[in-house]
Each structure stands twice: as C-alpha cells, then as structure tokens.
C-alpha cells in the first residue's frame, strides 16, 4: 500500500493541492456534461444559458434547472458520502475489500426502510433515515460478530456477503407479502438517483454533516491506526473509540444515502483504492480526495445511467455495480494470493 509513498503529501503538499484542484476541475467539467447530456438532446450553449441567463419560460432551461441540476446535486452528495464511508470502513476493519454494500450494511438499511414503510402505518420520510440507521447498525453488528476478533479480511467479506443475502431475502419476503408495495419500491431498491430526491436530501443533511465531522475528528487516530493496531495503541490512540466513532459515521453516511437514493453499492469500495493511487499517507488528504473522487464517480455513473440507453434511463446503482464489480474482481486478483 506504500507504493505511492514518493507522492506522499508530507513531502510535496503542493503536488497534492494541484491534484485536488485538477480533480475538482474534472468534476466541474463532468458536472457540466451531466447537465448538458440526457434523455432530451440539448446543445451546450442552451445548457450554459440555463445556468447563466435563466429564462423561466424556456422549456429547455427548465429541464436543466429543474431536473438535471437537482439530480446532479443528489449525485454529488451521495458519491461524497459513500466514498467517505468506504474510506472509514476499510480503515477500521483493516480490510481492502470492505464496502457498505458488500458488507451488507446497505442491505440492512434497505430492509429496515422497506419494512418500516410497509409495516408501520403512518410512516413518512422524516422517519426513514432512522429506520436506515437502525438497519445499518444491525447489519454492521452482525457482520462484526461474524468477522471474529482475529484479523481476517476474507472471513469478514464472506460474512458480509451472507448477511447481505439474508437481508435481501427478508426484503423480498416483505415485498411478496405486500404486492402493492412492490410496484412502488422496486425502482428505489436498485439504487435510484432522481431529481425528486433533492427534498429528501435536505432532510438528511444534518446526519450527513454529523457523519462527516465524526470522520474528520478521527483523522489523527486513523493515521496512527494505519501503522497497525499495536503501534497506534503505543501512540496513545484509543482503538475502541476509533472503531465505534468510525462505525457511527459509516452508519450515518450510508444510512442517509440509502434513505435518499436506495442501496448504491461499490462506490465505497472503488474510491479509496483509486485515491490511494495518488495519496497514501495522510488521512486528511485521503478523505479530501475521496470526497471529490466519490462525487466524480457517482456523477459519471449517473451520466452513464442517463445516456447509455437514451431516451430511457437506468438506475444509478446498477451502473455503479457494473463498474465496481469488475474492479472488485481485479483487486482480488491483484491482492489475494
């Protein structure tokens, strides 16, 4: 993991800044593509005008402003949140194959949301993040128990896959018992980012902010933990607190995302690895890069979801799985001997 050490920001901070700036520009450019491309063909000047000189009577401007901009915002936030969750979960489990999706955390959150929506009368969106958190915590605890005390990434990954399968079975059961719900939820269940989610996003913002702050509060402990649990303990890091706080942050971040856009997998897996190609040492940089790269990945995935089968749209979660699956396999082939 230290093959990129020569680019370590401790030695060349300007380079890391430059990289971050460059990625930010790429994100801006992709975001503009996201606004300009879509089911409806618009030319670039129209897109630009919709942003710079908005004309409320122009139908094309309305498309850019009403639907695409809202969707872009959701994609950016979802991507950033999932990426940070991925960095944290890989760090605290010390497992390069960890991801909220693969470890069943998204599945747990999704099951609790579905069950809550269908079984608890009078549920409205305000409760959904809490159902999601509850589900995410239950899944995380089960997987942690299964993972065992000994450090064993493979066992943890397998346990996660089993828990994910269990929760998806339970979700399917609830849906079969409630056929009216099936019609309503099947879209959401595959990870759908949409313009209508913006209002939900506003409601989970406090949780997302808390999750992000918790993550940032652990930066120093994470840096020490990277050197190994014993070394970290020697440096005065409370490992248990790190793990608990990290897990709470993961639950808040991925639970909020599930409540807004459904279970979207693989972003948390892919982004930390991509980021480590550039920066490796300092968790401040890793988190900073992850926010940008995560947003970039999901915006790109969402762009693909919207233009791949134009004029129809597919779900963003499906695209991230199609991108993330092969990357996961590639990682396994490189890493696991």
């Amino acid at each position: 993991m230290s093959d990129a050490a020569e680019l370590s920001p401790a030695r060349r901070p300007w380079l890391s800044f430059a990289g971050l700036g460059l990625l930010g520009l790429v994100l801006l450019f992709t975001a503009f593509l996201h606004l300009g491309l879509g089911a409806k063909a618009l030319d670039w000047t129209t897109t630009w005008q919709a942003l710079s000189q908005y004309d409320p009577t122009n139908l094309d401007h309305a498309v850019v402003r009403d639907s695409r901009l809202a969707r872009l915002l959701v994609a950016v936030v979802v991507g950033a949140a999932l990426a940070v969750a991925g960095v944290l979960i890989q760090a605290i489990t010390d497992n390069p194959l960890a991801d909220p999706g693969i470890l069943g955390i998204n599945g747990g959150a999704a099951f609790f949301v579905v069950a809550g929506l269908l079984m608890v009368p009078g549920t409205d969106f305000a409760y959904l993040p809490w159902y999601a958190f509850l589900g995410a915590v239950s899944a995380a605890v089960i997987v942690a128990l299964l993972g065992g005390r000994a450090h064993n990434p493979v066992r943890l990954t397998l346990a996660g896959a089993a828990v994910a399968a269990l929760f998806s079975a339970m979700t399917a059961t609830v849906l079969l018992l409630d056929q009216q719900g099936l019609e309503k939820l099947r879209h959401w269940l595959t990870g759908a980012i949409g313009a209508a989610d913006v209002s939900k996003l506003l409601q989970v913002t406090p949780y997302l902010v808390i999750g992000l702050l918790l993550a940032l509060s652990q930066v120093r402990s994470l840096d020490a933990h990277r050197l190994g649990a014993r070394a970290a303990a020697g440096l005065g890091v409370n490992i248990l607190r790190l793990k608990v706080v990290g897990l709470v942050a993961v639950v808040l971040l991925s639970g909020s995302v599930v409540a807004v856009a459904g279970p979207i997998g693989f972003v948390g897996l892919v982004v930390p690895h991509a980021v480590r190609l550039v920066v490796s040492a300092d968790y401040r940089w890793i988190l900073g890069y992850s926010v940008i790269v995560g947003a970039l990945l999901v915006v790109l995935a969402d762009l693909l979801a919207r233009v791949a089968v134009r004029p129809y749209e597919i779900n963003t979660g499906i695209v991230t799985a199609m991108i993330g699956g092969p990357l996961f396999i590639a990682l396994v082939i490189r890493r696991v001997k």
Binding site: L176, G181, Y312
Partner: protein, 315 residues
C-alpha cells in the same frame, strides 16, 4: 301407464341427470382447445383487475379470485371492490403465484387465467379445466366476448357492447374528425413515466379514433422514460392516472409544479385529465366508463388545438 313407458321415462330422466352433470363442450381460442362445462357452477378467476371485474359485470360471481394483499389488511380485489358486493368470493392468493390448493378446496369446474398463467396450466388442469383468455393479446372486447360465451352470458355482453357502440357513435357525431385531436396517455412516477393507459383507456382511445402526437406513435411501451422527455409527448390532451392506494398523487405533485410540466400545451389549456387508475378494470365496464369520461372531457366541451396554435405562431 304401461311398464314399458314408465321404464322409458325413468331411463330418459336418468340419462338427463347424467347428461346435465357432465354436460361439456369444447371451447376454442388462440390458446388452444379446452373441454369446459356448459353451465359452470364455480368459476375461479386468476386476475382480479380484468377477469373478476368482467365476470361481476356479467352477473356471475366467481367463487374464488386472486387479489392484492397489503400487509396486515384484508385482501383487495382491485377494480372490483368498490363496484360490487365481493362477499362470497374466496381470496386465493396473488395473481402470479396463487395458492393452488386453496383453488382445489373450492372444487371449481372452470379456472380462467391470462396468458402468463399458461405456465400454471399443467398443474391447474388437474383441478379443473383451465381457459386462458387473450386479455393482453386481443383486447377487452374480444376477451370479454369469449368470457361471456364461457359462462353463458352472451346477452349481457351484447348489451354492454351495444351501449359502447352508441358512445362511439355519439362521440363521432360530436367530433367528426377525431384523428385531428391528439391524445397521450401516461403514468407519471417520481423519477420517470410510462406511456400506458390502463382500465380500457388505451383501447377506448383507439376505438374512438383519436390521434396521437408523432413521438407517441414511434414510442416504446412498458419502459420507463426520463421525465425530461415529457415535452416530446405534449398533445391536445394528456391523460394521467393516479393510484389512491399508493398515494401517487401526492408523490408526483412536485413534478406537476415544475416549469416543464406547466408549459405543456395540454396543461396550459386545462386539457390535462387526471383519473383514478383503479376506478375501472380491464373490462367492458372500463371501456364504457372511459368512453363516457372521454365523451364529456373531450367531445362535449370547448377545446383548443395544439396544431392550430403552432400554425398561428408560424404565421
């Protein structure tokens, strides 16, 4: 009365009883030939929103029907419940995987299904004759005719058909060239929409000879379209349906506030029609109900034409 005559009479009576108990005939449609009872006593319907509705309209109460189940609530026969007395109809599970034994327990003598029930036909045939009706393939009028034939209610069906034909004529009397009026039927969901008009809407529009916008004619059905494309399907009239059970009206309210939506021709001119999706099933009643809705919402009112507005702009 001589002995011979008495014997003969008894014989005839006996034969008559036997013949009635086992009186069958062969029913034939595109899904094959089935030996069915002439006067079915207990019919099980495998689809509530089409077959069960139509049976009730013809005055035949099925002894069992599939329905929709919401967790922790009574099963619901969609499209039937609010129009007919459903007591006595046994709920036999969901329409995709009905409880076969619950059907057998009713001891039916006829089971009716849609084309996707063909995969269950081999098993169900062990219980009673299974007839597949072409609801999705040939439309409401054709399948309803076959259904009426099966349950011996051709008269009621002819009455329905007659009333429907009159509505078509009445529409054409008021609107001599219906194809100049363009109509789009769709269902809007939170993140996408589909081009679909359930409960007889699409078939009635076809029968009325109404026109469609260009994009609609080339469009694919049963796929989710991006909401961005709503503008392409702008027409003189836009018909959407809402499902009260799923609260779709509130969920999609924000889209109907958007500039995209409010700038549609149909919306600007109050020619957007929003109907209850479960009011009518896929039945003759659905056709009649829709035709009467369209009669009053399109034919019997003042309306504006999009084509004319465009022409005026060009000038």
């Amino acid at each position: 009365m001589s002995w011979n005559k008495t014997l003969l009479l008894l014989l005839v009576m006996a034969f008559g009883v036997v013949a009635q108990a086992a009186e069958t005939r062969v029913f034939k449609n595109r899904f094959g030939e089935v030996k069915v009872p002439k006067n079915p006593r207990c019919v099980v319907s495998l689809h509530d929103f089409s077959l069960t509705v139509q049976l009730m309209e013809l005055g035949v109460k099925p002894c069992g029907s599939t329905g929709r189940k919401k967790l922790m609530s009574e099963p619901l026969f969609r499209g039937v419940e609010h129009r007919f007395d459903v007591s006595g109809i046994q709920y036999v599970g969901g329409h995709k995987s009905p409880d076969l034994e619950a059907i057998a327990a009713l001891k039916p003598d006829l089971i009716l299904g849609l084309s996707y029930h063909r995969e269950l036909k081999p098993i169900l045939s062990a219980i009673a004759p299974v007839v597949i009706l072409p609801v999705q393939e040939e439309g409401i009028k054709k399948y309803a005719g076959q259904l009426a034939d099966l349950v011996g209610r051709r008269g009621s069906y002819q009455d329905q058909l007659k009333q429907y034909r009159w509505m078509l004529e009445e529409f054409h009397r008021l609107v001599p060239n219906p194809d100049s009026i363009t109509v789009t039927t769709l269902e809007i969901y939170e993140d996408n929409f589909q081009l679909i008009g359930r409960g007889g809407i699409d078939e009635a529009i076809r029968d009325l000879g109404l026109g469609h916008p260009k994009a609609y004619k080339k469009a694919r059905f049963h796929v989710p379209y991006s909401l961005e494309r709503v503008g392409d399907f702008d027409a003189d009239f836009i018909i959407d349906t809402y499902e009260p059970l799923l609260n779709t009206r509130q969920q999609t309210a924000s889209f109907r506030e958007s500039a995209q939506w409010r700038q549609l021709f149909a919306v600007r001119h109050g020619q957007f029609l929003y109907f209850n999706r479960s009011r009518y099933g896929e039945s003759m009643g659905g056709l009649l109900g829709t035709a009467s809705l369209l009669l009053s919402h399109i034919a019997e009112r003042d309306r504006v034409s999009r084509a004319e507005e465009i022409r005026a702009k060009v000038r």
